[in-house]
Amino acid sequence: MIRSAEDDQRIVITGIGLTAPNGDTLADYRAALLAGRSGVEPYTIRYVGDTLAGVCHYDELKYQNRRDVRRGTRAGSIGIYCAREAVADSGVDWDRINPETVGVYVGVTEHGNVETENEIYEITQFNYDTKVWSHHHNPRTVANNPAGEITLNMGITGPHYTIGAACAAGNAGLIQGAQMLLLHECDFAIAGGVSESIRTFGIFAGFASQGALAAHADPAKASRPFDRGRNGIVVSEGGCLYALERYSDAARRGAKIYGELVGYSMTSDATDFVLPNPVQQSRCMEQALRRAGLNAEDVDVLSTHATATPSGDVQECQAIRRVFGGSNRTRINNTKSFIGHAMGAAGSLELAGNLPAFDDGVCHATINVDDLDPECALPGLVLNEPQETAGVNYILNNSFGMLGINSAVIIKRV
């Protein structure tokens, strides 16, 4: 078969590796999303005390020995698990891949807080004697750590780095991987996002001080975007990394293809440290649609970013209404209602949970909406129960973050 030059400019997903609070494989995760199963549980952390979190339960010794787990970071361990799973899922003959041609691009909301907090806690036990500050602190906290640990574990000698993009990082990692493939900086990309944020008390304390930390007697009901009773974010850990290839390479080896990245956009609000800007969020979605050559009504599933903060959800709905108000066929859902906010992993995890819709035609729900906020009442919202569709061809995934960073990716069924 003759491949066109255009096939070299198409980026496809050929493997998915993930760990979420409610599943450590795509199949289990998707089953949980369709069954309405939450992954939020009671959680206790230093200084903050009892709270709630989305905790991952993957087998960290599947791809690492205990010494490597001890030496590295939780984000690194999550990254290694997800990267190994993605490569295995891609079906690529890893032993025949030139490790110089593999790039690793991992989105993170933050990195280093966990280890720094741990070391500060340690020196408080020794009257602030910095001689007990660990020599592991620097390699654990350098910003490239999660991506670097993946290369160490897998023997990858191509480029690696993290992409710091607040809670848009999962999408940003995916976009970065695609761009590097298009530039031929690599031939096989491992890209997405990870988060270890539940290991830092600061993120809980910060959200609590901001009045944005969720609380509920029933952990499974704590994360409730779009519901009038929502009261904040459930912090979660997790990871989702994709194996990305140029379509020409994937087709040549007969790879299974989950979907094609046909449009993406990243924009900035330039308005506030914390508060989102619906106008810029709209522009981000519109730009992704334009680049994909699509109209709003072409999108079958829109995966929202909404985190269950009172104002953030309303503002994203305003942005969506502006772009998708005329589309009567776009279904809209939210994954954080199941798993909480997986921070750097949120964008890539939330996209992954929707990709099986290309095969089963089902749009998973937004759970925990007992009393829909009228300001969030978008026509296409899929509430509490999954919906069968006539078929899903395009999925748009939103991810936004602090400092006004916006991202949207559009995946096409292949």
Binding site: N65, R66, R67, R70, K131, S134, H136
Partner: protein
């Protein structure tokens, strides 16, 4: 601490630092590196743990004394003789 107690303490530290290793067959007169997968960061962990657990400061010039179990115990013996085993 006695020599035996110091040896037990070093073994305990090693079991934390090298949790995948079988320490039961460790030969005291052979270097750790010949028998265990330890790198320079692991040796710094030994130094750090002795500092944290027993407030023992080991100067960098003395690190060579931590080569084997025998040499480590001999080096630590005068430093730990007044420390009570907990």
């Amino acid at each position: 601490m006695t020599r035996d107690q110091i040896r037990e303490e070093v073994l305990d530290i090693l079991s934390d630092i090298a949790p995948d290793e079988d320490l039961s067959s460790l030969k005291d007169d052979q270097s750790f590196r010949e028998q265990l997968e330890l790198d320079s960061m692991d040796f710094l962990d030994i130094v750090m743990e002795l500092r944290k657990r027993h407030r023992i400061q080991i100067p960098e010039d003395d690190y060579m004394n931590l080569r084997s179990m025998d040499s480590t115990v001999s080096y630590l013996e005068p430093l730990m003789k007044d420390i009570q085993k907990v």
